[in-house]
């Protein structure tokens, strides 16, 4: 055997010795300590990930509760404004009131348009708003002087549309309040 081959065999033998030593490493306390640390590390990583997921879910749900409460407050204010219509209301006054109601209502209901519990009522509310706009446009005065000649014309034109709007807003308000309660109950049950 040439010296180079003999050297290679010696090296191989040393490697095999080390492999055999490592194969019996489970017999040593260092092996078990390292394994324990590894498993503990895995457990804590999993636990941290789960807690982060739960915290995110809780934050989302809290945000949704706040949103429902905001919508409920906004719709209550709109319902109060709808009651401000009176027989001597002027065209400009009715137009401003309707614009404000329309803007506020459309802003708060738009995120819930696809909600299966609310979409029917939201559609009715949109239709009622459109009908009121249409009725109001039919009493746009030909001149300011002429508006005073027919003092209750605006009221007669929009009275029933406002009554419809009031009813639909009240029904929608009820649905949002119920949603808020159901949501709170589901959250408390966890």
């Amino acid at each position: 055997m040439d010296p180079q081959t003999e050297e290679a065999f010696k090296r191989l033998d040393a490697v095999l010795q080390r492999v055999l030593q490592d194969a019996h490493a489970w017999n040593t306390w260092e092996y078990w300590l390292a394994l324990l640390i590894g498993v503990a590390g895995l457990y804590f990583a999993w636990k941290a990930s789960r807690e982060a997921h739960e915290a995110k879910q809780a934050a989302t749900e809290a945000g949704r509760t706040v949103k429902i409460q905001t919508v409920t407050i906004e719709l209550t204010e709109v319902a109060q404004k709808l009651e401000r219509i009176h027989p001597d209301i002027k065209f400009s006054e009715a137009r401003d009131l309707l614009s404000e109601i329309s803007r506020r209502v459309r802003r708060v209901i738009s995120p819930f348009e696809k909600d299966p519990d609310l979409e029917g009522k939201i559609k009715s509310l949109r239709e009622a708003l459109d009908a009121t706009h249409s009725s109001l446009s039919k009493v746009r005065p030909s001149g300011q002087a002429k508006e005073t000649e027919v003092p209750q014309a605006v009221y007669y034109a929009i009275e029933s549309d406002f009554a419809t709007l009031t009813n639909v807003v009240a029904e929608l308000l009820g649905l949002f309040e119920k949603k808020g309660i159901d949501f709170g109950d589901a959250h408390a049950g966890r």
Partner: protein
């Protein structure tokens, strides 16, 4: 409203329609759906308005649809603009066709006035 009063209102409305058709009452337009006539000397005003309502109606299959219903409102105002008399075709169904007729003749009266003005400003041939 008592039936006797309704009959009396019908009589007055028919008189107003006849006077308008005869060109004795000139109506003015306050807005696209309201006409008014002012007495001379100005002791009061008559107002006729077309009101359109959207009401829910249930179909035979149970579905709800929105239907448009038209009625007319007639008012007699004093010189301060206070309504002394008011009649709505919504409250008194029988009156609605007559009020519709009055609205039609008031609209025609306005349109006739407009055409007369147009004729007056055109160059004479």
């Amino acid at each position: 409203m008592p039936a006797g009063n309704v009959a009396e209102i019908r009589k007055y409305l028919e008189e107003v329609i006849a006077a308008t058709n005869a060109g004795k009452m000139d109506w003015a337009q306050a807005n696209p759906t309201t006409f008014f006539w002012t007495s001379t000397p100005p002791r009061g005003r008559l107002v006729i308005q077309r009101v359109e309502k959207t009401v829910p109606r249930r179909l035979a299959d149970g579905r709800m649809i929105a239907t448009k219903v038209v009625h007319y409102v007639f008012q007699a105002l004093d010189q301060n603009g206070t309504a002394q008399f008011s009649a709505s075709g919504e409250d008194i169904d029988d009156l609605n066709p007559l009020l519709e007729n009055l609205y039609g003749v008031a609209e025609t009266s306005m349109s006739r006035k407009g055409l007369e003005f147009l004729k007056s400003i055109l160059p004479k041939s």
